[in-house]
């Protein structure tokens, strides 16, 4: 999927020039002796085919130029973003690609593409529902009963956040050790749904992304309201894993890898929401004048 993250004017001819070896090789069963092909090889990456990345201000917002070509989304729409800061960060993502374009590191570009194309064709209510769905199974509302040290840790780390959220939004969430999760009153859903409705479509796409990464709506609210930093939110989201790592040891290629990926995704989503929500844009303008 990530390979189709961008589309440019001259995508067609480029595709034709794509090395023919790939599809032909895959038809032949078994490894090819000369190449010693492995069962799994990482997907081919596109070369960096541009030199300069620049930003221009168009009618719909800020656009990205790769040399003289305009960046487009996978559905061939013009890539435009509402804020200058976001455009700068996206341009930086493109400009920092060395030799090959690594789409899996370009989280902000991906988020913008999702917002522009809306590939799942969801409207605002559906987006809100998708984010709200995580409240029923919110990570920080599920508690363990043993071991005692972990029970204690969850209580000390997660309770203040739940308390904060309950106070901030005047609602009731609670925590539970049962497999059914906490029983959350209907009023809480109403309060949160109406709060989420105050965000625009772009910001909601970002919120849903962060919620899905952290598996927690409450922690996401903490990020949106500047209560938690990304590092703190990620730590709280992986609290049990951190506990087990402390007990059994850390494996770099599993634990650290996941931690960095989660941190990158959560940070990208959070930044995206902050840069896309209108209040921020207004504040930027006020500061500049």
């Amino acid at each position: 999927m990530w390979r189709s993250c961008l589309q440019l004017w001259d995508w067609g001819p480029r595709l034709l020039k794509w090395p023919l070896g790939g599809p032909i090789c895959s038809v032949v069963p078994g490894p090819i002796p000369q190449l010693r092909a492995r069962a799994y090889a990482p997907p081919k990456e596109r070369k960096r085919f541009y030199q300069n990345v620049s930003i221009t201000q168009g009618e719909g917002g800020f656009e990205i130029n790769l040399d003289h070509r305009k960046l487009k989304t996978p559905q061939a729409k013009l890539f435009t973003v509402p804020s200058e800061a976001l455009a700068t960060a996206v341009a930086m993502e493109w400009d920092s690609q060395q030799d090959t374009i690594k789409f899996y590191t370009m989280h902000l570009t991906t988020l913008c593409n999702t917002s522009l194309d809306n590939p799942t064709q969801r409207n605002k209510d559906q987006l809100i529902q998708a984010a709200m769905k995580f409240l029923d199974t919110d990570t920080i509302c599920y508690r363990v009963e043993e071991p005692e040290t972990l029970v204690e840790l969850q209580k000390n780390e997660w309770d203040p956040i739940i308390e904060w959220a309950e106070k901030r939004y005047g609602m009731e969430i609670g925590a539970s050790t049962s497999i059914m999760g906490p029983s959350i009153p209907a009023k809480t859903y109403e309060t949160l749904a109406s709060h989420l409705a105050s965000y625009n479509m772009w910001a909601l796409q970002g919120i849903e992304f962060v919620v899905a990464q952290l598996k927690s709506l409450v922690l996401t609210l903490g990020l949106m309201d500047l209560r938690l930093t990304v590092e703190q939110a990620v730590l709280l989201s992986r609290l049990e894993e951190e506990y087990q790592v402390q007990k059994w040891g850390n494996i770099e290629w599993a634990h650290d890898y996941e931690l960095q990926e989660l941190q990158a995704r959560a940070a990208a989503g959070t930044l995206f929401v902050h840069l896309c929500s209108e209040s921020t844009t207004v504040k930027h303008k006020l500061l500049r004048e």
Partner: protein
Amino acid sequence: MTALGSPARTLRGLLRELRHLSAATGRPYRDTAAYRYLMKAFRAHQVTSEKLCRAQHELHFQAATYLCLLRSVREHMALHQEFHGKGERSVEESAGLVGLQLPRQPGGKGCEP
């Protein structure tokens, strides 16, 4: 509100990441649009007179979030290159990853010709 540390520290961290990123183009990081944007934003933020200004705190939060993004992406990519970027490992490599060695029998299965 979260404690983010001093803005100068965040800015230093960001510049450090920009230096890493500009290695791709070979151009000095001071030529990038991101550098100019950050410096402008940080300067505007500096002259704000209010002691606890919400907008100021929000800008610093965004800067810290961006720093977290850049740093995590860099470290994630380093780990990816090291452990996941080269496709499937050979049996020897996989064994080496957990500190084991394949057995070598003279004249037998694991013997080099």
